[in-house]
Point group: C2
Chain length 355, copies 2
């Protein structure tokens, strides 16, 4: 069943559909006067204590934004970076030496107690701390030296969409500012997002093919690997299938064994080094007769039977913002096609409190 205009505003998944559609406007807010001022202020505070090492801490969807930032820090800042396992500082009470370390926590709600504890410990142990949240009055925002608001507005759907791309953009702009850039390359993104979102019918049709799939695999490399991870999580949250993400390289180290024509593969292959590094994976996927849906540049997408082509000319480190959009739509349409309401996933709550 296609999502008609009508069901899009009243039926199952209407909150998620509205928030997916809202993304170009959210990005404009971040790129505009309000967002720019906040990003500049945060960058000025961070620039006073340049780090030697960057740690990121997050959970769920926000963890994929943190992973994206890790790639940016490693590649464009030339700094070693790591993702913190929060349990080390909470359950195990580790008190690491964090002098010259920037610790970045990413969270939509800013409400998860384990992240707050991690930030408190990090500050006490000498780190400079930055919280990136969608709620300036949240405990996490309050606990950090510096807070950056992603300005996504209230997010009502349980499956995070607009807050994810707002996190990506806020982190990208902040880090670019710290590198002395002007963020100009991102200015075209809202327009390009409108173009990508307009391919909704194509995605809705593709969703029908996965109506009875029980499990699938997502894959990408480099900047696109966080997209593969986030796509898998969206599909799990809304459509209750097993969706596993692998970097293209890791896929060849074992998990390839479980791919056959009954296990669809969703590949992310944008223009650039990450998509190019996926070329080695393509013949191996053919060998196992994998059914592949590709989101990426025309050059890559045309190699496969199914996919959505992204616009040309986007700087590779910005393409994750566009790449995820068709997967958000896919998660929505697939859930509805399977008779589920993605706005009310079973067993989930919007704010998850883990200790």
């Amino acid at each position: 069943m296609d999502m008609s205009e009508d069901s899009a505003t009243t039926g199952p998944g209407r909150l998620m559909a509205a928030e997916i559609a809202e993304q170009p406007a959210v990005w404009e807010r971040l790129l505009g006067i309000e967002g720019r001022a906040r990003i500049h202020d945060a960058a000025d505070l961070l620039a006073k204590r340049p780090p030697r090492f960057v740690l990121l801490v997050a959970r769920g969807t926000s963890d994929h934004a943190a992973l994206y930032a890790k790639y940016v820090v490693e590649i464009l800042h030339g700094l070693p970076a790591g993702l913190v396992s929060p349990s080390t500082m909470t359950a195990y009470r580790a008190r690491p030496d964090l002098r010259e370390v920037l610790v970045i926590a990413v969270s939509q709600s800013g409400g998860s107690p384990d992240l707050v504890t991690t930030m408190e410990v990090a500050r006490a142990r000498g780190a400079l701390t930055l919280a990136v949240t969608n709620n300036a009055s949240s405990p996490l925002a309050q606990s950090a030296d510096v807070h950056l608001d992603v300005l996504a507005g209230p997010e009502l759907a349980v499956a995070a969409t607009k807050s994810y791309t707002a996190q990506l953009l806020a982190l990208s702009l902040l880090l670019e500012r710290l590198r002395g850039g002007d963020g100009g390359a991102a200015a075209a993104l809202p327009e390009l997002a409108v173009q990508v979102l307009a391919k909704d019918d194509q995605v809705a049709a593709a969703a029908q093919r996965y109506r009875f799939a029980q499990r699938l695999v997502t894959t990408g490399r480099g900047y696109s690997y966080p997209t593969a991870r986030e796509a898998a999580l969206k599909l799990m949250e809304t459509s209750y299938l097993s969706a596993q993400a692998f970097s293209g390289a890791d896929l060849l180290h074992g998990p390839l064994a479980m791919i056959d024509p009954q296990v669809p593969v969703l590949a992310v292959m944008a223009a650039g080094a990450g998509g190019d590094a996926m070329r080695a994976v393509v013949p191996r996927l053919r060998e196992v007769r994998a059914d592949v849906f590709c989101v990426g540049s025309a050059e890559h997408v045309t190699q496969f039977q199914h996919g959505v082509t992204l616009p040309d000319g986007v700087r590779e480190d910005l393409s994750p913002l566009l790449e995820i959009l068709p997967f958000q739509q896919l998660a929505l349409h697939l859930a509805v096609a399977r008779g589920e309401d993605p706005d009310a996933p079973r067993g989930l709550r919007k704010v998850t409190e883990t200790l």
Copy 2:
């Protein structure tokens, strides 16, 4: 079908079965005169340049040993640590500032070109480099400042088993030596492994229950999270089902939605802070009527219908060595029960070359 004595020496999976059984002897070698000398030599070389940060790089099974080492470094050494995405230094040619950084590469074969490149870049950028491999003449071993041989002997089965626990033990002993410890707590492990491996019949019976499962979830926290990851990979490699690992905390941030009574959960809950932190997950699993198989301490295992109890009195950071054993057996028995040969998984090669 049970693995009879006979099929264990001649039938499908005989290589994997032999290497699983060999583990106590491999550990004794590492704990004995030969292993101790190598560990002391490596520790002496590393102690000359104490790091401020530790980065780890690995793929596949070895990545889970690296993740284990990350927990040890963060918790017991109080140092920030991160897992490197190799693509940053290969595909994206990042050249990070790695002064005062210890970079540890973990690989059974030592043959993966991307790891060699990462080590070469790391050395050139000021890092102290350590390779932990099962092949002293491998390119990776040659590329590092310091090499530690895990002494597991030739590994013939495609699904790594003995090399994984040898990596865990070698890393554990090396790091303990760097902390000034004597490694004495590990001395009992080979005997305890014999006890755990003797529960093979129990695991073989359990494997029958998963004969027709298409997907499952593994979960654990802290030191046991790498075990959950490795258990999932073993099951994917040998039995071609979708097996997804989540930290107990991440499970509650989304993936819980896809668990129902048709998606078995394999939980790792050893004695200690990691197992205790899983307590919050148990009632949520009950709510969704999950079918749980638990490997861990008696206290935790008795909460569920199915499981394998581990011996008491093991220091928590050493328990991953024992935790993985029943899952290796489960992967073997399940593959055989499904009519597969775990020694010849489709689509896989023993040495995976990724760039």
